[in-house]
């Protein structure tokens, strides 16, 4: 990454971090209902991968997907408005935190059934190939998804059909509340499964935005060239619990401390300074991010609630919901 590119990535990560913090605070204020699965700590995976992809590539994410929506162009205001049940939300307040989607930029959804979107990404890659494009599809998922059937069906089909799809595992060491190592037969839950499907499996520091960008760029180029799918395991760590209900007390203090010292924003900041970007310039990026998210919170708060009749639209392609004559 060139310094300018890294600075832009840093600012994007700073926006995501602040948006997630705002989501947390708004939840505590009673302005976000249901639950949230915050991605604070995972920013470098979304931002690094996005920097390596083309705008016309397809991205599929999970219920922990705010960072992917924003990395693909959703604004903090659209996301927070959705979380706050506003008519201006990204999904018109019909999706909520777990389903952020920005189809216009190729971010084709956040799915809350573990592993379900991996076959969808395979289908999008298949479609890209059938339509004669060189687009690729990327599925982001957690370490817990590596033990569900859809993961294995998707990997096999993608490999057999040699499709341009990347499977990116965000391994944050815990499947919900349980250490992934306690429930998985291999040490590296994603990468160690790749050989079974005859595809490359790699591990990358998921908190290092430059490493993520470089690795994804290399695997994407390979997929785009027709050399088939790959599986990337990006090691990372949640700053919050699994979901809003989880204080994450099961994680050892020493482990938490170690990972917080390996923060994706700190790493990127260090790289910027190292490459000669003045601290004041980095500080300005932080300030811009803070201001942008503050404005987004205020705008989302001011936005109207949806018209209740909106509930009876968008089932069918004609916009309606009629199921009978």
């Amino acid at each position: 990454m060139e310094p300018a590119e890294l600075l832009a990535a840093y600012e994007q990560m700073a926006v995501i971090r602040r948006t997630e913090k705002a989501a947390h605070d708004l939840f505590l204020q009673g302005l976000v209902k249901g639950t949230t699965h915050l991605a604070a700590g995972h920013e470098a995976i979304a931002v690094g991968a996005s920097a390596a992809l083309r705008p016309d590539d397809y991205v599929f994410a999970t219920y922990r997907g705010h960072h992917h929506a924003m990395a693909r162009g959703a604004t903090p205001e659209e996301c927070l408005a959705e979380l706050m049940s506003r008519a201006t939300g990204l999904c018109k307040a019909k999706g909520g935190s777990m389903h952020l989607t920005k189809a216009s930029t190729g971010m084709l959804g956040s799915y809350a059934i573990v592993g379900a979107h991996l076959p969808m990404a395979v289908g999008a890659a298949w479609s890209a190939r059938l339509r004669g494009t060189d687009r690729i599809a990327v599925a982001f998922f957690g370490d817990g998804a590596t033990n569900i059937g859809a993961f294995h069906e998707a990997l096999n089909l993608a490999a057999v059909w040699k499709l341009p799809v990347l499977f990116v595992c965000e391994n944050n060491l815990y499947m919900e509340y349980t250490p992934i190592a306690d429930v998985t037969a291999v040490a590296r839950p994603a990468a160690d499964r790749a050989p079974a499907y005859g595809i490359p499996g790699e591990v990358v520091d998921g908190n290092d935005v430059v490493a993520v960008q470089e690795t994804v760029a290399r695997l994407a180029a390979r997929a785009r060239a027709g050399d088939g799918p790959a599986l990337l395991e990006a090691r990372t760590y949640r700053h919050f619990g699994h979901s809003r209900a989880d204080p994450a007390t099961y994680r050892p203090a020493e482990e938490v401390e170690r990972w917080l010292k390996h923060d994706p924003l700190d790493l990127a900041r260090g790289r910027l300074i190292e490459s000669g970007v003045p601290e004041a310039v980095v500080h300005e990026a932080d300030e811009r991010a803070t201001t942008a998210v503050q404005k987004a919170v205020e705008a989302a708060k001011a936005a109207p609630a949806p018209d209740p009749d909106e509930a009876l639209t968008d089932v069918w392609a004609d916009g309606g919901a009629a199921w009978r004559t």
């Binding site: 999706g95 920005k102 059934i113 969808m120 289908g123 059938l130 859809a150 998707a154 089932v315 916009g319």
Partner: protein, 326 residues
């Protein structure tokens, strides 16, 4: 053009017609290519359209339907085959949680123009895990259109409508009807989804049936005619959209309703239809409603046992006779 076409041939013909007119229509499923499908319902497609449009898959129902969904969201019109409708359970997440909900939960950002075809129903001695009539499973989930044709002409016409639909359609092909024959079907034959057909007119009772139960209802109507009872038979064709209007109009003529359903009584589609009739057509009725449906047990293997469970002509006739007192 041949003098007759079988229901089985109509499936392949219906798909082929749409593949000829739209290059975005592609097929995927287990054994659908060189083998032509285990029921030969995709025979000839690979030969005519080649391996870039007819794709054999592994035994991976989640990958089949999930990939169809991803392809449909990005510009294709996939036609996915799930070999037996019982296997829909293996990919139920896609039919219950993903496909019918993705348009809604994204606020209308995506469409999912796909067809999931599947061989449905009993009567062939395939036992408990290959014989179920599962159309009522799909009927529990808002967001799926449900087609279940009873004749070769409807197979072709409804297949055209299903593939052209911008909404997801679950298309139930009845195993017991595959050998049934019908008249050849003119080009560009399209049967709009959600339009029931009155396939026999009558004034004494309305029999509402679906798929393999349509010929059962028609045979029952013939027998009843000999007893002086003229039954009107409505082929529902689709469960969603559900053509309540045609049923209510028929009840306006007959005042008596019997549903003929292969799926179990417990949770069967007739329950919803009858509830709408009770709500909106109570004044039309002169007699209690009867539902002739599958017994609430797993499908047994032996013919004698299977016939005990699935509705038969005799059971329909008996139900109608029971209404004579009113």
């Amino acid at each position: 053009m041949a003098d007759v076409i079988s229901y089985r041939e109509a499936v392949a013909e219906g798909i082929a017609r749409e593949m000829r007119r739209d290059p975005n229509v592609v097929c995927l499923g287990e054994d659908i290519g060189e083998a032509g499908g285990v029921f030969k319902t995709t025979a000839g497609l690979l030969k005519e359209f080649g391996p870039e449009r007819v794709w054999d898959t592994p035994i991976s129902e989640q990958a089949i339907v999930g990939a169809a969904m991803g392809a449909a969201m990005t510009g294709m019109r996939p036609v996915a085959e799930i070999m037996f409708s019982d296997f829909l359970a293996c990919c139920w997440d896609y039919l219950a949680n993903e496909i019918p909900k993705v348009r809604y939960m994204t606020g209308g950002q995506v469409t999912v123009p796909l067809v999931v075809r599947t061989a449905n129903g009993g009567g062939l001695g395939f036992g408990a895990q290959h014989s179920q009539a599962t159309e009522n499973w799909a009927f529990t989930v808002p967001g799926l259109k449900i087609a279940a044709p009873a004749t070769p002409a409807d197979v072709i016409g409804m297949m055209a409508a299903a593939i052209r639909s911008d909404d997801p359609v679950v298309f139930f092909e009845h195993k017991g009807l595959l050998a049934a024959k019908g008249a050849p079907v003119p080009p560009d034959h399209v049967v709009e989804l959600g339009r029931a057909a009155v396939v026999r007119e009558g004034v004494d009772v309305t029999l509402v049936a679906l798929a393999s139960m349509v010929p059962v209802a028609l045979k029952a109507a013939e027998l009843l005619s000999g007893e002086g009872v003229e039954a009107e038979v409505v082929d529902l064709r689709c469960l969603v959209p559900l053509d309540v209007s045609t049923v209510l109009a028929s009840l306006g003529r007959t005042s008596r309703l019997v549903t003929v359903e292969e799926n179990p009584y417990q949770g069967g589609w007739g329950a919803t239809l009858v509830s709408v009739v009770a709500d909106e057509g109570f004044g039309l009725l002169d007699a209690p409603v009867r539902r002739v449906a599958g017994e609430c047990v797993p499908l047994p293997f032996a013919d004698a046992l299977e016939e005990r469970v699935i509705p038969t002509v005799e059971k329909v006739v008996a139900a109608v006779r029971g209404l004579a007192a009113y």
